[in-house]
């Protein structure tokens, strides 16, 4: 047996210029995100694209790359936000410590949910993740002394970001965007490393053919659990960003509608591509922004557009574009 193939080492016959540029997917993504606040109508929208982009990117690791359709990603998004808020507001932890603590605790939660849910396959997995995420929702609803229950978590505000003697006014929307973009950049680098590693090849092998991956000697169950935790960790970082951004955590963040929204975003953008989640998050949020200008019932249109995507454009906007251009083994 030779060592397992890693994501990108399979030799490509003379990659085109465009392909070679697109292979620097993390740098390119950061450049696009850096320009985003100046391209979108409002800074608040840009911040949301950033936050949901990170959440959906983490989810894409699970759904797009491993082929596990979870309907419970809101649990980790919400956990990241709640743990950050509780650490800062209740225990007075500074923000730079609160974020790693929150990600760590959310990853533990992902481990617990993952142990139960990765024992199941196919449609069962979707149903079980949905049910367990609803369990987290009801626990947060009942533990009102910790989480604020139905009113959401309040009473923590980060107005100044200080690190290494450098002070940034966090209330300024532009500053806020670029501070949060640093988090997003970190998450993208981490995700790209995972995908380029041998482990990244293993999860794609599981998606393509679970039995064959098992026959090749890979521990499918353990890989699924690990990818579930990694995915939860990245999505929870998005939750931390949300908590820092809003200074409140609404209970709805844990609801299964949020999980569904994450699924919608990844499909609109394009599962199984690196930048697709950001495209999906941006399309969804812009759609919501534009339609809600003239009707409060924007969900009916979003639902209809999503149904059309499932029927006619299952690879999403970005995924279809990549296919049309035929670029990049790395699917940027």
């Amino acid at each position: 047996m030779t060592s397992p193939p890693s994501g990108e080492v399979i030799a490509e016959p003379a990659p085109s210029g465009l392909s070679r540029i697109l292979d620097h997917r993390v740098l390119l993504s950061i450049v696009v995100l850096a320009l985003l606040p100046w391209l979108l109508p409002s800074k608040a929208l840009a911040v949301n694209v950033l936050i949901y982009g990170v959440v959906v990117m983490g989810y894409n690791l699970l759904f797009g790359y491993t082929g596990l359709l979870s309907f419970g990603q809101a649990a980790f998004f919400g956990a990241g936000a709640y743990f950050t808020g509780i650490a800062i507001g209740r225990y007075g932890v500074p923000w730079f410590a609160a974020v790693p603590i929150a990600v760590f605790l959310s990853t533990c939660l992902a481990a617990a949910i993952g142990i139960v849910s990765t024992r199941t396959r196919g449609i069962y997995f979707s149903m079980v993740t949905l049910a367990l995420a609803q369990l987290v929702y009801y626990v947060a609803l009942q533990a009102a002394s910790f989480t604020g229950g139905e009113n959401g978590l309040r009473g923590f505000t980060v107005d100044r970001i200080s690190l290494f003697g450098l002070h940034v006014n966090f209330l300024d929307p532009v500053n806020k965007y670029y501070v949060l973009m640093a988090f997003a950049g970190l998450a993208m680098w981490f995700q790209s490393r995972i995908l380029n590693s041998p482990f990244g090849a293993v999860i794609e092998a599981i998606r393509e053919n679970e039995q064959r991956a098992r026959a090749c000697g890979y521990d499918v169950e353990r890989s699924k659990l690990v990818v579930f935790m990694l995915s939860g960790a990245i999505s929870s970082l998005g939750g931390c960003m949300l908590a820092l951004h809003l200074s409140i955590v609404p209970l709805d963040i844990l609801h299964y509608q949020t999980s569904g929204m994450i699924v919608m975003m990844v499909l609109l953008g394009g599962a199984r591509s690196f930048f697709g989640p950001f495209v999906g998050a941006a399309s969804f949020l812009i759609l919501e922004d534009v339609i809600s200008l003239w009707t409060p019932h924007w969900q009916i249109f979003v639902g209809a557009i999503f149904v059309l995507f499932v029927l006619f454009l299952p690879k999403g906007i970005w995924g279809t574009m990549l296919d049309a251009l035929g670029v990049g083994k790395a699917r940027p």
Binding site: V116, R119, Q134, L135, Y256, Q257, V263, Q299, V310
Partner: protein
């Protein structure tokens, strides 16, 4: 703790479980036949409740609502299968699930547009108002009626599936649709009917639950989670499993509500987690397809 109180609570649990059984049954029958999990099941439950309420106020009688709502919504379900779901057979198993999820958005928002976002009270039919003296305590008449009606529906379903020619085709089609086509059965029509039946059962659950819960556009999301929990515990595709698990969940919610009310919504999820750890395919599930 008073024993008669526990028995009364047990009965309450059976009434609650009866609605769960009907709802989960619709989900599990559709999965068993078509291999599709309908994520709009909760939304269709909610639409059933609204349709029942609307038809009852239109005709002036709860009974017309109870009879017509499941039939109308079941026909609507057949339309959904014919127009949307049918296109997805042969594609990834995730696709029907995603499609029905998108559909639930449309249905919920549609109801908000027509009936508004606020909850509407669903009046109990006048014949069933009040309580009945059972000797050990008083029990709401309406809940007894729910238990009895669900028992009748289950019996009818069981007889149809086991004793009739149609039932034979349905059971054979669930086992091997290709052979059924070779034998000259139009399996597409069977699937259409089964999807309609599943949606009709969701609507029936909605009408029955109406007087016990308040009717609002969001009621479907909790129901969907409950129906999932019941089918996962019972084993997806298993009718006996849906009945046993539905009653089990209903009874545990009621009994836990007696001792620790704040744990009532949480207990069913804990039950599901325990079942999954011990028996990933569910109590009556067949290993291989799902676990």
């Amino acid at each position: 703790m008073d024993l008669s109180l526990i028995i009364m609570q047990l009965l309450s649990g059976i009434a609650l479980g009866a609605v769960l059984v009907i709802t989960a049954l619709g989900l599990t029958i559709v999965f068993g036949m078509l291999g599709v999990v309908n994520f709009a099941h909760g939304a269709l439950f909610m639409i059933g409740a609204y349709a029942g309420l609307y038809l009852a106020s239109l005709t002036g009688s709860f009974w017309w609502g109870l009879l017509l709502a499941p039939i109308l919504i079941g026909a609507f379900g057949m339309l959904i299968e014919f127009v949307l779901i049918r296109r997805l057979y042969g594609r990834s198993i995730d696709d029907p699930l995603l499609l029905t999820f998108g559909l639930s958005y449309i249905l919920v928002e549609g109801v908000r547009i027509v009936f508004g976002s606020d909850g509407i009270p669903f009046p109990t039919p006048p014949q069933l108002i009040g309580v009945l003296d059972l000797g050990i305590g008083f029990f709401p008449r309406y809940r007894l009626f729910v238990i009895a009606l669900v028992a009748v529906v289950l019996l009818a379903l069981w007889l149809t599936l086991e004793k009739t020619r149609i039932g034979l085709i349905v059971r054979a089609g669930a086992r091997d649709p290709t052979i059924m086509q070779v034998l000259g059965v139009d399996i597409g029509r069977v699937w259409l009917a089964i999807f309609g039946l599943g949606v009709g059962l969701a609507a029936l659950g909605g009408v029955l639950a109406g007087p016990m819960r308040s009717v609002n556009p969001e009621m479907g999301s909790l129901v969907l989670a409950e129906a999932f929990v019941v089918t996962v515990i019972g084993g997806l595709g298993s009718i006996v499993g849906a009945v046993v698990a539905g009653l089990m969940v209903g009874i545990s919610i009621s009994l836990v509500a007696l001792f620790a009310p704040e744990m009532a919504t949480i207990v069913m999820f804990a039950l599901m987690a325990v079942v999954l750890l011990i028996r990933p395919q569910g109590l009556f599930g067949v290993r291989g397809r799902t676990a």
